[in-house]
Structures are given as C-alpha cells and as structure tokens.
Amino acid sequence: MRLAFILSEIGIGLRRNLAMTVSVVLVTFVSLTFVGAGALMQQQVRTMQGDWYDRVQVSIFLCTQDSYSASCAGAATDEDKAAIEGALTSPPLSEYVSEVEFETREEAFAQFQEQFAGEQLSASVTPEQLPESFRVGLQDPEEFAVISDSFTGQTGVEQVVDQREVLEPFFDVLNGLTAASLALAGIMLVAAVLLIGTTIRLAAFNRRRETGIMRLVGASSAFLQLPFLLEGVIAVALGAVLATGALLLAVHYGVTGWAAQQVPAFDYITTADVWATAPWLLLGGVVMASVASLVSLSRYLKV
C-alpha cells in the first residue's frame, strides 16, 4: 500500500517536473560519461602495462651482421651470448632480474611480421636484419640503469633499451586525457549536484500543498522525503544508464572496432571493462544524488 502510494507520488513528481528531471538526466549522463571515460583510460593503461610493459622491461639487443656500434665486431658470437646470460643469471645482477628470455632472429621476425602485417615494411625485412635479444624482466622496473650500465658497451651488445620508454609517451597521453576528462567530470558533477538540489527544491515547492497535508496528518519525515529522494535517484540512475550506453558504443566502435584494428600489437579494453565499470558509475551517481537530495530536503522540507 505504502509502496504503491510512494510510487504514484514519484510518478506525479517526475511528470510535473519533467523539464528539470530531463536536465538532471542529461547532466548526470554527461558527467558520468566523463568519469567512466577517465576510469576506462586508466584501465587501458593498466591493461597495457600488465600485458607488455611489466613482462618485458628491458631488451638487450645483440649485434647483427650490419651493426655499426663500436661494441660490435660482426654478429654476436655464442661466447658473447653465454657471457651475457651468465651475468644476468648470477649475482649480483640476478637479484634485480625476475626473468630472462632469449629471442631468436626467427622469433623476432615472426613478431615483426605479426606487428606490421599487411604493411609494405613487413615484406622488405628478412630475419637476418633483425637482432637477437635478451628480454629481461626486472624485480623493480625503476632499476633499468643497473642493467643498462652493465651491458652498454659490452662486446656483442648493440643497444640496451628500456621498453617503458617506448610506451611512456602513449601512457602520458592517456594519463593526460584521464586528467582532462576527470577535471571535466568534476565540473559537470558540481553542476549535477547543484542541479539536483535545485530540482528537489522545486519539486518540494511544487508539492508544498501535498507535503503540508502530509506533515499535518503525521507522515514521518522518511515518508515525506522518500518520493523526492527517489525522484533524484531515478533521474541519476537513468543518466548512469545512458552514460554506460555511450561508453559501450565508444569502446565497441572506437577501441575494439578501430584502434585494435589499426594497432593490433597492444591489448585493449573491451566492453567487458565497461560492464565492470558501470555498477560503480551507478552507485556513485546514486550516492551523489541521495546526498544532494537529502541536503536540499533538510533545508526545504522539514517535519
């Protein structure tokens, strides 16, 4: 009985206040979309880091036939390789190293072909042109200098590359975009909170006749405030649903359908990540709406 009554009151409120309700839905839609986009970009950074960045942090490229580096006198010999591997797997360096993998020319070639499949470059490269390498995982990725100092200039080593530097610019862009979208989201959230407060206030004012009578006949404050509170929550939940839809479309067409086709070497977030983010958007939005409504109601709708 009371539930049906509250629901009918909410329906009346939402219809009477339709324009304001729609604006709350739209503002929360936009702000939660930015929040979600920020979260997903961070997710993307973590996905890449988890997949590649953490596994292979340092590559020690060995000399090839065509190397010009001072430490190279033709291709690296088996003795060179044994010396490097020995250094990596015995103290003191082994303390810093979590794993060592040797990549042969053929493996490098296969990966190269995969990475640049369909492009002209892949047809003109032969296995002989690609260097063999030791791929080294570090206990602490920040300790790159230890490996670099040990092997740069050693016979048979052409170059020591910190793989993080390859991805770093990309992460910087993503981090920058995250910060920008969170800043935008912050501004939009402030607007959303104020708008919800105003909307609730207006709704309470529109229905002051009803609420006046409800107070007089002894409605509890929870009962008095619940319809207004739920109105705000429903509007925000709708906004969160729309935001989730927008993010799903963006990831499906923008990431899975486009970026992943263009640069297939990376791992990308998928719509599954959006689904994982959605409940948090909804929850955050509902909490925000509840707090804004309660603050507003406590000022304008006292028992």
Binding site: M214, A219, S220, S221
Partner: protein
Amino acid sequence: MIRFDHVTKTYDPTARPALDAVDLEVARGEFVFLVGASGSGKSTFLRLVLKEEAASSGVVHVAGKELGRLSSWKVPHLRRQIGVVFQDFRLLPGKTVHQNVAFALQVVGRSRAAINATVPEVLELVGLDGKGGRLPHELSGGEQQRVAIARAVAGGPAILLADEPTGNLDPTTSLGITRLLETINGRGTTVVMATHDDDIVDSMRKRVVELVDGRVVRDERQGGYVTGTMPVVPPPVPDAGDDEEHRDDEGDEGRSATA
C-alpha cells in the same frame, strides 16, 4: 489533553510575545472556543499544540506528552493524534473527495482495506455520503470544509484543532460546520476551535477562552463572544452575503436552517 504551563512564545525578541505566560488546560472530551482578534495569539497556540513551533519558555503538554522533550522523529506520531482544519480547507484540487480523505490515511500507512472501509464512514459522518467521487471545485465552500473535517478525523485523532474553520463561510453554513464539530466532540474527540465568529460562539454556549495580545483575559464555562474586554469588529467574511446580520445574538436562524 492539552496543558499550557506559563507558556511564552516570542518570534521577534524586540516585539511583544505572541503568547505571554499562558496557563490553560483543556480536558479530554472538552469543546473550547478560542476567541480573540487577529494577532491575539490563537494561531500561535494551535501551532504550539502541533509542535510546528516550540515554546520559548514554559511547558506544553499534549496527549500526555511534554512537547519540549519530544524528539523531532516522534512529532509525526504526535500529529497522528491531532486532526487539523483550516479556514482555507487545504484540499488537494486534483483528487476526489474520497481520495482527499484517503490521502491522510495512506500517508500514515493504513491498509487499502482499512481505508476503503473508513473513508465512506467518515464521509457519512460529515454528511457527504454519496459525494466521494466529486472533485473539490465541484463542491460548495461548506461541503469542502466538511471534506477537510472528514480528512482530519479519518485517522481517529484524540484532538481536533480548527483554525477559523468558518472564516470563509456564510453564517448558516458556519453554524452547520460548528454543529458538525460538536457532533465529533460528542464522539469523544477534544475540540479546540479558534474563531472570531461571534454568532457561532454565542449560540453554542461552550467554554470560551479569550486571548488579547497573547494573554488569556477570559476563560468562561458557558461563554458568549462579547465581553467588555475588547471591541467587537465584524469579521471579514469574503464569501458570505454582506446583507447578513452578523451580530445576531442567539443565532437561532442558523440553527434551524442547518437542523
């Protein structure tokens, strides 16, 4: 049922208090007229009973509870024991008579079955049986006030407060409304009616409490409205015909008209 011990209510510290050290007791089942000019403190008295305002000093007891000690979340329970009727009826224009009365019961969580049983009962009590489907604007002023009374008593309150309930009604209708309040009083509900309708007060011969400038200046068992303590000014009756004679001492016409 209602007891004021030395109650003072001050809205503006620089002005005189709205109620000034009022001592008053209304027993269970009593019918009391609260009379006095506008601004004499009648409405403040009613607001204090409802705990819409808190007393600045003194102690207010209503229905066995000391309101100063009543926490705010218990106020709704207090108000469920008090029905209120106003001069301007305060009906919800979009709801029918039945829905208006049912609204008060829905709000306090009565079951649908209980509501459907209670509403026709109280509508019959106030003389509106068969009009449950009407909208407020289809009713006369007197009928609208009867709906408001039905709503106020539907929950079975111990106390009924009426704040100028006849202020917008013509004398004949006013007397009918007051008779209805008397009927409700006869069923055991304590009634406090604030009014400056002298005809009504004079004809009913009930207890009269007169306030002047926030003080109780008279408390008479079977009083009339007019005493020497204040000049009697005809009350504004916007809806009533102006040719009516308001100072008609006994109000016999009204009584016979509504019988």
